[in-house]
Structures are given as C-alpha cells and as structure tokens.
Subunit: 296 residues, 4 copies
C-alpha cells in the first residue's frame, strides 16, 4: 500500500478591504472580501516539510492590501485579474490562481429626504416585492499561464410575489399530499452566476442589466412552476445581454405555507401565511446563448 | 434549606406571519416575527405539574395567526396591543403579557427601471453611506390589567462615513497605544428604541421620521467622538419628534483599521482600511425630552 | 422643549483572549471573550465633545490582554473581578464597571483511544441524550466603589429525552388544536444563571456540580410539563449547592413534531419526528434558596 | 441569438428527521438533515410549464419521512442508498439522484457521574485539545441507473495544539512581514471527505477509525507546516484504513496571533494570544491509496 499526494492548493480567505477614493469632496467606497487559492509546485512542502517555495498566506494578505492601493478597483472583476496576474508574474512556482471576491453593497445616504418612499416607488409593482437583505456582488477568476476565466454573479437577491404563480398538473403518487394551486406565494433568494464571451466589457453596467432583468422577469412572469420562471429569467438575460454566454440560476423555493383557518371556521383567501426556512425546494438551471460569436 | 419559585414566565417565540392585504390589483404585505410571554397564576404548574391554568404555547401560536386575520396590522404597535388585550381578556389567570414584534422590510420591485441608481441618489451625500443589511422595525409591548407601555425601535441600520469624524484628547495611560486622529472612518450599526408620551399617534410615520433624523444627523454631524454623535442623534429626535419621550441609542463602533502601508514605503492617505468585526467599541445612551407634557 | 442625557455607558465588546499555562510538558488553555462596560463622569464627552476623561476602548482592550498575562485565570469569575478592580482603581472618573465573560470549552484530545464510546458511556442513560454543541461557561460582574455582584452561568446545554415527558390537562379554548400526550420528545437548550451567598468559593467546582445536577434532573425527572422539570432542576441546584442563592433557568422547548404517517396507512409509534427551530416555546423561572444564611 | 436550457436539477433541501429506535427500555436516536436533487427528463417543465413529469419537492419530503420509518438507518450511507434507489425505481423520468446527509451528534447523558472529567481524560494529551463544537458526520451519494458513488465525511472537528508546530524557511518578498517561528499555536477546524474501494463495509466503524487517526495525527505530529500535517493525516488514514481509496482534507488555519506585550515592557513566552476568525489560511489536499485493489 502506498499513499500519494493527489492534489493540493492553499491560500488566504476572507481578506477584507475597504478602499476609499476621494475626488474633491466626493468620496467613493468599495468594500470587498477576497479569497485567494494557489496551485503549483508544492509537493515538497507536504512530503518533506520544505517551505522554500511557499508564499505565506500572511504575505498573500499583505499583497491584497498593497494591490488595492495600486489598482483603481473600478470593478471586482478587474481587481481580481490584477491580483491573479501579480501572483503568477512574481512566483514561478505557481501554475494556477483562483480568486473569489464578494462585494458588500453600500449606497449613499440621501439627506433632506423625508420622501424616500415616493422616490423608491417610481414604478412600483403591484404585487412583487424585494427585501434589502444581504445581497452581494460576486465574481470568481481562474487564471493560469495560458488562459483565464471570469465569472460574475450576485447572491441573496430576496424577492416575493403574492400572485401570478401556480403549480398544477404534477405527478401524484402514494406519498403525495400537496394540493394543486393556481395562486400561491412565490418567494426565492436568487443566486446567479454568468460567463462571458469576451472580457473587454463594462462589468458593472452588465451586472446592473442582469439584475434588472432578473427582477423584472420575476415580477412580470405568469409562473406555472419555479422551473419555468427560472428558465424565463435565463432566457431574458442571454437574449438581452449579448455579452453573457451562459447563466446559472439557483432559486431556493422559500415556502410560505397557508395557515389553516378552516379549523376555526374562518376563511383564508390567501391572506395569512407561515414563512418557513426549511425544508425548502431548490431549483437550479443553466441557460446558454448558442448563437452568438466565438467563445473566449 | 427551602427552595421557592421566585418568578416565572412562559410563552411562544418566533411565531412568523405573513399577511397579504389585497386592494384590487394592489397587494400590500407585512411579515413579522412575534414573541409572546405570559405571567400570572402559574405556581401549581411548576410545583404540582397541574396544567389546568396553562394556555399551551401551541394555542398562543394559533391565536397569533387568527388575530393576524382579524386585525388590519396597520402597524406592529397596534397589532401587539390587539394581541395583548386578547390574552388578558380571555385568560383570567394571566396578569401580564409581554410581546415583541420584529418586522422584516419588504419594498416594491420597480420595474421598467434601469435607472434605480439616479433615483436613489436624488440627494446623495458626499461621504456618508448606508448598507441595505438586515434592518428591521421593532416594537415591544408590556401590558397588565392596569396599564400598558409601548416602545418602538429599529435595529441593524448600518452606516459608514469616510470623513468628518475624529477622536482626540483622550486619556493616555501606560497601556494606551491608540493614536489621536482628526479624520477616521466612522461606521456603526444603529439600534434605537424610543418611548412615547401618548399612544394615539401614527406609529409608522413617526418611525420614518426618527429613522431619517438618525441618518441625517449621522451623515452631517462633525463628530468628535461616537458619544457626541450619539447624543446629537438623540437630541435631534427628541427635539423634532414631540411624540417621543425618550430614546435609547446603541452604537457599536465597527472599526475600520488603517492598513499599515508605511512598511512597504507606500502612503495611506486614508485610502486602504481593514474592516473588522471584533473587538468592537460599544457606546450606549439615553436622551430624554424633559419639557414636554405629562407622561403616559 | 429640552433634551437631556439621561444615562450612558461605553466600553469594548468581544475582546477574545487565549491564555496558555505551561507546567513542564503539560499545557493548560483558557479561551474567553470579554465585554467591558463603564459608567461614570462622562457627560462632557457627549455634550461638549470633551474626551479628557475617556479611557479609549482600544486601551480597555490592551488592558484585558495585559491583565490576562498577570492573572492566573483560575476561573473567569476571579479574572473578571481582577479586571473590574483594575479599572476602578486606576480611573477616578469611573463609578461602575460591568464585565461579561464567555468561556469556550476545550477538552484534551485522548490519544491511543479507539474506545471513546465505551469510556463516555460509563453510566449511559437509557433515553436521555446530550449534543456537544456550542455550550459555554459564562459569568457577569457588576462592581462599583461600594460593592460587587457576581453571577455565573452556562448556555447552550442541548439535551433531548425520548420518553418520560408528557403534557396533559391544559386549557382548551376555541383556538386549541394541540392534543394531549402522555409521551413526547422533550428537547431543550438550557441556559442558566445563578447568584451566590458569598464569593470565597471554588467557582469551577460549583459550575461542574450545577451542570451535573441540571443534566441528571433533566434525564431522570418524569415530566408533566417543561415548567415542572424547570422547577425541579432549580430545586435540586438550590438544595444541593449551598453556595447558590438563586438560579434563573431558561428552557426553550425545541419541538420535535410527530410526522403524520396515518395518511399513508402507516403507524408512528413515536418513531419519526420533524425537528423544528421555530416557533418554539420558551419557559423561564427563578428558584431561590430562602433558608440559607445572610445574603452578600 | 437563441437560448437553450443547458442543464437543470431540482429537489428538496434540509429535510430534517429524527428517528427513535426502541429496544426495551433502551432508546437510540438518529437526527439527520437530508438534501435530495434529481436530474432527468425535465425540459418541458422549463420550456412549456408542463409539470406532468414533476415529482413535487413536497412529495420528496414526505418520501424521506416514510423511508426513514421503513429503513433501520444503521448508517447515513445505507439510508441515502435506500432513498436513492427508491426514487430511481419509482420514477422512470429520473436519470440521476444526488443525496447529501448531515448527521447531528447526540451522546447519552451519563448520570450518577460527577467525575466526567477523569473519565474523559483517560489518555489526555499534554498540549492538544478539542472543542465540542458543531461537528457533524456527513455523506453524499450520486446514483444513476448504471452505478453509484458514496463519499463519507466529517466537518467542524475543531482542534488546537499549543506546541510542536512551527513555520520557517518560507519565501520572503517585498510584502513579507511574517516572522519565522519554531513554536506557534496550531488550530484548525478539520473537514474531511473520503471515497471507498467498495461499499459492503461498516461505515460507522470506519468513520470512527478515520476520526481517531485524524485526531491522533494532529496531536502527535511535529508540524513544519499545515500542509505537512495535512499530508501526514491523509497518509495515516489511507495506510491504516484499507477500505479508504482517497481522502480530501481541508484545514482552515485558525490564526491565534501573539499579543504584543513588548510595548508594555512585558514578556510573552507564548502565553497570551488573540484568537481571530478572519482572514484565515486555507490548506487543502487529497491523499490517495495507489496500491490497493480494484476501484468500484
């Protein structure tokens, strides 16, 4: 019997950075948490305890801060690429770098503004809602000496609609107790991740477009199933964002159970629901643009 | 030696309700998590295992849902009061009810809206920011057969300003290493809880006013310490909301540490910071309106 | 209208310390998270931005580490007292110090031990279980120039028994749907906090005794309600720990709902349950020793 | 431009089950959280809103509970296999099932036992510790009509050693500030996942063996790096568990930073440390048994 080291990687996770950019009195901020993982010629570290090729994770951390100083951080995608190239260019023993960035969302405070409600509801939807939860902008980079791949994404986009969602015509077997319904609450916390045809693009503007398409499609779609809405979202994104090659969408079905008021001789015309966290349905799919250009 | 039951209370926590109100095509939703605690004549439950005066916590839960059907839930304050009175009126053995409500924030989705950025930034502040985190609207009720008290509040209002905050002139002792600074990041997750002079008021509108005053004061105040800003916030609220008798404010100081770039022969003109979660300063205070009317 | 500063306090929270004590080859560790809050002559900080009496929270943090070096940390109670006295003795402007300590539980790894199961089950209970979750040892100190109070406690002691627990004879009203039961799952995550008659005692040994009494009483008691078991636990502690003056016990009722197998023509002889987190019953009480000695 | 559905899968997550087995007065319990994901002929659900081949996630949930009744649940691995085969056998449209199980750890309460300390420390290690955190037993199954794969694992095995760990001889570049050390705290929360040569084995006993080998190797190894200890752990497991084909180990380096007492003219002989959660090093590797038998 013989043991071999099959694979390995290492790095630093959760390196948190705030960058402040000052243009006269106007300040802009970017807060991001970075994970870096390295692959390369590290067998002797494991087998012999020889650390001579190890860039310490503490140095990885310092490097993230220094490069945050140097780079304008116009988008997390460009910053990840800048970081990835740095580690490859300065460390001959490294063959591949993977970087993930999670950006926290900060907006400007609106002062003199006692009317936030009206402003926010310029085109308010009748029955579709969003909860300002822990939404983040995400990206991931995989870079080697030959090529690189960038994926962009968002997470925790929490939405709910009170109508225009049904679920009927499904299989009934001996363990089925779910009733068919033409009208139910549909709530989900959208996670999405998309790939690009090419990378000389405006990542932030595409992010905003993808996010708006997801929100509008969720709000407007007459849903026969979570699956159908998920596909419609992916279809809209791939059709209306020509830069997006494919999009993965994950829609946990955050069930709102109708409270049984019949037991108390009361009606429940879709008025009173029990929000639940678990168990939850989980629906995932990938929609791809198959007509557009050559892949990068 | 003799053991006695000194105090006791019981109830149901985290009863989650979604209420949908339908006005034609326009739907409104309220999602709330309710905690109920009862005090009263419950000694025999503990001492003899006699449950004849126990309203089961499962029934408390059912009652919350039924009363959510009956009550319009115009504000969490009014709903708590409705609940509290119900339990007292229908259970002679109960002498006091305490109810807490935590409301989740849902906003309407704005469709046809690719310009959310501009709309949201109608009066954008130069250097003060808000993160749409897990902010909640809260209230608590304590009601007995003679009287009741309502407190309203908010939690997790996460803000950050990049300038107009300093900290100087403090005590230096043998364990002091902190440097004085005229210009630092100031970030906090505001928790506030306020009491009223009287209760025939518009709770939701007062909530919006208090929230705006907290945000504007945080953004505009030239801060010499967290304490000074906290007091200024409380002063503005008690002066400009005549209904508010006193306000408790808690400001955890979410430290953003300046990353030391000197070691690498680089300047850090308040550009690169390390966001940290712990340890954190915690500053708390109560500001009271002492001139206004008689207390309720 | 006039605003006044009614109350205030400040300090540092979540100061985390690991102390290693070395006795030859044997090392002992204590890991603790400390919260310090100060009250005193701090009006001018709030009203005038005058920081000349402010001990910065950063210095509070440094002081915790230095005093962790000086003090043997034989118990968190003694360490809190040492800290509290330090702040009072060295800061004339401080009138009261409150300190909380939460100790993480670390046990020695048993090597050469493939038989942990048998060793751990020396006196295994037939139907009562414990889950090694996030249990902590806690204490809190309140100290002024005249007196001090210490409370000790534990949190997150997660237990479950599969029988010897029922709930019958309760009120049935129009919203009751709960069925009476002679035999149900009883699971709770015990929180307890106790006060002492005097403080020249062995805190760690009393902690172990209280914890064992809570566990044994939970396991052995034939429960007619959570309330009755809670009281029995408090009674055993106050009767068998003469140092304990009174104990507060909180027992969230972590409901395990019987899954309805009837719908599928199957029996469920208390075999298959749905663990749930919310909503949960919450039962709390204080049991006091009224015969013993004079209070401190 | 044309959009196509590239991939899809759906199912139910976090289905929590408690099973009680009663052998006379002795009760055994298993608490597990199950995730099920299905792949198959589901294009029309997405493209046409045709649900006729959809087994609702609610039925998936019910099925988990019914099968928990039928199956002895001797190990989570056997239960997952039983579940996976059920879904394939009863649903012609399903081509692949993936199931994850996370088992919560429950131990029997030891009553009449005021001496837990001594019993637990039968072979206590001098300087290596374990914290009874949120450790879980895990497994994952991937099953199609042709074949299946089982992986077993554990998560959140939190350990710490106060000596016999160093880190020296690493790369120094312009951003390096880390000092070399012969003696540091080494703490990690081990995650491991292993594959088997064959499946007619005692999963629970192998789990215990792997866990003991990880603990003992961590405690005893003279560590020159996290990587070296990780490899040694994997080597011990693959050499001493002939059933294990390969093991993935993830070791987040939970840094304990030495508090700088020099500033206060005090020594810190590895006594006082700052526990930190982030950033953290993350070291991962796969060790494989390359000599043993044929793969399944």
């Amino acid at each position: 019997m013989k043991s071999v080291l099959e694979k390995n990687n290492y790095g630093k996770s959760s390196v948190r950075v705030l960058k402040v950019k000052r243009t006269g009195l106007i300040h802009d901020i970017t807060e991001v948490s970075i994970d870096v993982q390295l692959k390369g010629d590290f067998d002797d570290v494991h087998l012999k305890g020889d650390n001579s090729k190890v860039l310490p994770t503490d140095t990885i951390k310092n490097t993230v801060y220094v490069l945050a100083k140097e780079n304008p951080m116009n988008s997390i995608e460009e910053f990840c690429l800048y970081l990835g190239n740095y580690f490859l260019d300065n460390n001959i023993q490294i063959s591949e770098v993977r970087i993930k960035a999670v950006e926290k969302i900060w907006k400007r405070i609106n002062i003199h503004d006692s009317s936030e409600k009206e402003i926010n509801q310029h085109h308010p939807h009748n029955h579709s809602f969003i909860s300002p939860g822990n939404e983040t902008r995400n990206c991931s980079l995989k870079i080697s000496r030959d090529e690189y791949k960038i994926k962009s994404g968002l997470n925790n986009l929490l939405v709910l609609k009170t109508t225009n969602s049904g679920f009927e015509g499904f299989i009934k077997d001996k363990y089925t107790t779910l009733l068919e319904t033409k009208d139910r609450i549909f709530s989900t916390s959208i996670k999405a991740e998309w790939k690009y045809f090419k990378y000389d693009i405006d990542f932030r503007s595409i992010h905003d477009t993808v996010r708006n398409l997801l929100l509008n499609t969720f709000a407007e779609h007459s849903s026969l199933s979570v699956q159908q809405t998920l596909y419609e979202c992916g279809k809209k994104v791939t059709e209306q964002c020509p830069e997006v090659k494919e999009i993965f969408i994950s829609m946990p079905n955050k069930h709102y159970l109708k409270f049984d008021l019949d037991r108390f001789d009361l009606d429940n015309f879709n008025e009173i629901f029990i929000p639940t966290d678990e168990p939850y349905g989980l629906i995932e799919g990938v929609v791809k643009n198959v007509k557009n250009g050559k892949e990068q």
